[in-house]
């Protein structure tokens, strides 16, 4: 009798443990929620429509994954400040869609999940262009972002305006040649004819869309991958700062607009569409995001009225070339509760029709082969042309501390724009400030 009681108690215990285990399992297999952050409206809008399709695709695979879209519309600088603090305080979402220029600093700080094991076992990764993979690879050889967009940085010009003014619209071979044409425009219109992002108000754009592409084709080393050090004085850098100073001295840059708190508004959103400022340094997203029918400042028949030039040669012995402008990628929080599901979302959004829809919506270039026949991307000739250029574009080298270099470039170009420095003084100020910010261990002697 006593033995029966012991057995009964044991059986009850086992049954109870079994129930607990079953409950525990059911929780583990229950819906998995992945939070995805978008900070630009166009991207958020297109992804919002794609999420149900992803959830359905996962359900067909027997996985119950729900995606919560977090939309927080911010400028690039605001986003960078905010997401950095979210990561630092452990409050960042699982998947973050952001420009690859942000990735190095955040990966270095340990905020992002290393994606190597996921990418190397994914067929899609083999279709990525080598230049895109190079741009996404961090100094330690690993990947912390899955690129889903690429861009080509060019000089966009108003074909209709220049032709009306009788200005040559063929590809200028050198900056001197282009400056001569710009002076003709200035003489005829009385207004500054070109905008290159510069100064502190344009934020990181002064670096990534301003000085970096100008000096990228000079052949000077800016960041040495092997030593992991920045070379802050070079022929290319000096030539780039001199170019800015020459443009300011000849009244070719709109200095007052560049000192506006939102300098892209009077330049890219007002004067370029009006045709009073006919040349602008711009990434390929400008075709849709800025000047497309649903862009920030639409230009009718933009394909007929706008043309692009490669960056002209800045120093002797070089030739004009398109410059890779980076792009957006999906990064996964290192502390994501469900990293596998988060990476699945990133991979799905970077493939097939989902990717084609995003590219067409924001005007980005495909970072991988095989998309040129997929609608709606296949109906975007400007983007397909930029994708061709991407294959031969120069990939500017980027490394740890890029945000510090960007900061120093913003200050140095601000000095030129405000008339406080000439080219060589700005180059000196840049080298001094960047060295101070980077610290001696990250600067080549």
């Amino acid at each position: 009798m006593r033995r029966n009681r012991v057995l009964a108690a044991g059986a009850a215990g086992l049954l109870f443990a079994g129930v607990l285990t079953a409950c525990s399992d059911s929780r583990a297999e229950g819906p998995v929620t992945v939070k995805l952050l978008q900070f630009q409206e166009a991207r958020a809008d297109v992804v919002k429509d794609l999420i149900p399709e992803f959830e359905k695709a996962m359900a067909e695979k027997g996985q119950d994954v729900k995606v919560e879209l977090v939309t927080d519309i911010l400028t690039d600088d605001q986003f960078r400040t905010k997401i950095t603090q979210q990561f630092y305080s452990g409050k960042a979402p699982d998947v973050v869609d952001m420009g690859n220029k942000n990735v190095t600093g955040m990966a270095g700080a340990g905020y992002l999940l290393k994606l190597d094991k996921y990418l190397h076992t994914w067929d899609g990764w083999d279709e990525y262009y080598p230049s895109v993979k190079d741009g996404a690879r961090e100094r330690n050889g690993s990947y912390y972002s899955l690129p889903h967009e690429a861009s080509v940085q060019s000089l966009f010009y108003r074909k209709d305006v220049l032709e009306r003014l009788g200005i040559d619209t063929s590809q200028p071979r050198t900056w001197d040649e282009l400056i001569a044409r710009l002076k003709q425009v200035r003489a005829k219109t009385g207004e500054a004819p070109i905008v290159l992002p510069a100064g502190t108000a344009w934020g990181d754009g002064s670096w990534s869309e301003g000085l970096l592409p100008v000096m990228a084709g000079t052949g000077s080393t800016l960041y040495d991958d092997e030593s992991g050090k920045w070379k802050l004085r070079s022929k290319g850098l000096s030539a780039a700062f001199d170019l800015y100073a020459d443009l300011v001295e000849a009244d070719l840059l709109p200095v007052r607009d560049l000192q506006n708190p939102n300098p892209w508004e009077p330049t890219k959103y007002q004067k370029f569409p009006q045709g009073t400022l006919p040349v602008a340094a711009q990434g390929s997203w400008g075709w849709k995001y800025d000047w497309g029918p649903e862009g920030s400042a639409p230009i009718k028949n933009s394909r007929e009225r706008i043309g692009t030039w490669d960056y002209p040669a800045l120093v002797p012995g070089t030739k004009p070339a398109p410059v890779s402008g980076g792009g957006f990628g999906y990064s996964v929080n290192a502390d994501a509760a469900h990293p596998d599901a988060a990476v699945e979302l990133a991979k799905w959004l970077s493939s097939g029709k989902a990717l084609a829809k995003q590219l067409a919506a924001v005007g980005a270039v495909s970072p991988r082969e095989g998309l040129s026949g997929t609608a709606p991307y296949k109906n975007e000739p400007s983007l397909l042309q930029a994708e061709d250029e991407l294959k031969s574009s120069i990939q500017p080298p980027l490394g740890d501390g890029e945000d510090r270099v960007s900061q120093a470039v913003q200050s140095a170009t601000a000095k030129i724009v405000s008339g406080d420095a000439d080219g060589s003084q700005a180059a000196d100020a840049f080298a001094e400030e960047a060295a101070e910010l980077l610290g001696s261990t990250r600067v080549a002697k």
Binding site: Y88, G105, A201, G439
Partner: protein, 303 residues
């Protein structure tokens, strides 16, 4: 009986007071310790490290001693930001708000003035408007676009469009800060002027003193304490002004309006260098403490 009661109560009263003291002061001390002293101490600790929010160095912050302070005191950008802060405080707070606030308070004391309620309300409005709303409103009014309010007004006089926030940035932010701060000065000075006896003012006028002499030799000495207290408060708050400038000019154009609070924000958050930003904050704290003690000594008021 009465004597016995009195003698029994004498030793217990101080004891009760002693017991009540921690109860009364405890919550305040606790709050100050948690929300003022602890963050300040943590800020000082961060200032001695190379703490960053991004980059490989972020994973392993190092103690760097006074390196951040050395960098800042050798940095032209930081020293210039301190200079601009001094300029901003001097013109907007010490001169602009104080003088205009005093004039408004004196005006409101005049018996002949009609519509005091409306006048006072109008002066108070800028203080009531949230900082961000005030900044964005002025940014719109002073925008360089042809359609901005300021340029439309200029157009009425036949003048071309101007861009005051780009052409006269520091003057613009100083004037806007004066506009926002007059109300507080006026309230402080109005309260102080209430304590100046009317008889004294009447007597001095009877003796033939002019209005300026009355103010200089009678009124001002009597309200010296509140005036210096106001100067102390407005200096502290004006040094800490951030939102107004950030939303108007973001410290630009160039660095023309980058006062130290903006410099600290840029260093610590935009460029993620928490250690450097903290060191800049500590330097500002030291300067403010020195300034505050000077004011307190000049006013001979206990703060």
């Amino acid at each position: 009986m009465t004597t016995a009661k009195t003698s029994a109560a004498r030793p217990t009263r101080p004891l009760q007071e002693r017991a009540a003291l921690p109860v009364l002061l405890g919550p305040s001390v606790l709050l100050i310790a948690v929300f003022v002293i602890a963050p300040a101490a943590y800020g000082i600790y961060l200032a001695l490290t190379d703490t960053q929010l991004t980059g490989f160095a972020a994973q392993d912050p190092q103690f760097v001693g006074l390196e951040n302070f050395r960098n800042l005191l050798g940095s032209a950008d930081f020293l210039e930001s301190l200079g601009r802060t001094g300029e901003f405080v001097l013109w907007s707070a010490i001169i602009g708000q104080t003088v205009l606030g005093m004039l408004a308070a004196l005006l409101l004391r005049q018996k002949w003035l009609r519509g005091k309620g409306l006048f006072g309300a109008l002066m108070l409005l800028p203080m009531v408007v949230p900082e961000v709303v005030a900044s964005l409103t002025w940014a719109s009014v002073l925008s360089s676009e042809d359609g901005s309010t300021f340029n439309r007004l200029l157009g009425l006089f036949g003048s071309g469009a101007a861009a005051p926030l780009q052409e006269y940035p520091m003057t613009s932010v100083i004037l806007i800060n004066v506009w926002r701060g007059i109300a507080f000065a006026m309230i402080m000075f109005q309260a102080a002027l209430e304590d100046v006896p009317d008889e004294l003012l009447e007597a001095s006028r009877m003796d033939g003193a002019s209005a300026l002499q009355v103010f200089r030799h009678i009124t001002l000495p009597l309200i010296r304490g509140p005036v210096f207290l106001y100067l102390l408060l407005t200096t502290i708050t004006t040094v800490g002004v951030f939102g107004l400038i950030y939303f108007l000019t973001q410290g630009g154009p160039g660095q023309d309006t980058e006062i130290t609070s903006v410099y600290i924000f840029q260093s610590a958050f935009k460029y993620s260098q928490i250690g450097l930003g903290s060191a800049a904050s500590v330097i500002l704290l030291i300067l403010l403490t020195i300034l505050g003690m000077t004011y307190a000594r000049l006013a001979k008021v206990e703060v």
